[in-house]
Symmetry: C2
Subunit: 125 residues, 2 copies
């Protein structure tokens, strides 16, 4: 789902914290459980996911719909407000795709580390 | 220049750190000196401005043009890459303007503090 060469650490435009933008993208096609979110968000800890989900909920970008079921089921879903963010996010993603090489070149030029090492570090986080 | 009710602390979409988006906006109409940047960026410390400028420079979004003058003059200017960010930033600003009340309402609903106090806190930072 997410290009490993496009980690949010290198992205100058961000939605909320490190994971928020990716969580919103994960919820684009419908509600997801906590455990379902952890699969595409490789490397996220349960604590980081909880923190990020709480922040998104506090901002009204995601909701937890209530189900009339005997067994408790917790899912996360984009609110109307969260869904409205998808269009500006798409504009940003297009910008990032078009300018990614320039960003990496600039980082490389200003860092003693080479591009490969930087990308590896970002992936490892 | 910046709406005090629109502090970046409340903004779910961000360019870089807290100040980066505002710095880019300040440079939209041409190069600015360090001291000139501090005027519209009310409340920014010299240290925070330096940190933010370095990060923007590292990402190739701003440059420091060299002047052939006997007296050293340091100015900051948007690079072509930085200038290309203005359009996606404008899309985000439009989104924020359209949804600001919803964001504030969501924060208010999830916080024991009222809206006025929150806005005051954000302004004070």
């Amino acid at each position: 789902m997410f290009d490993p060469l496009c980690p949010s650490d290198l992205m100058p435009i961000r939605i909320g914290d490190k994971w928020a933008g990716m969580i919103i993208r994960c919820l684009e096609r419908g509600p997801r459980r906590f455990s379902e979110l952890r699969i595409p968000l490789r490397g996220i800890t349960a604590k980081a996911l909880t923190t990020s989900l709480r922040a998104l909920e506090r901002d009204g970008l995601i909701i937890r719909p209530a189900y009339a079921e005997p067994v408790r089921r917790v899912e996360y879903e984009l609110s109307q407000l969260g869904r409205s963010l998808l269009q500006p996010m798409a504009v940003m993603c297009t910008w990032a795709q078009e300018h990614w090489d320039e960003l990496l070149d600039a980082r490389e030029a200003s860092s003693p580390l080479g591009r490969t090492e930087q990308a590896g570090q970002a992936r490892g986080q």
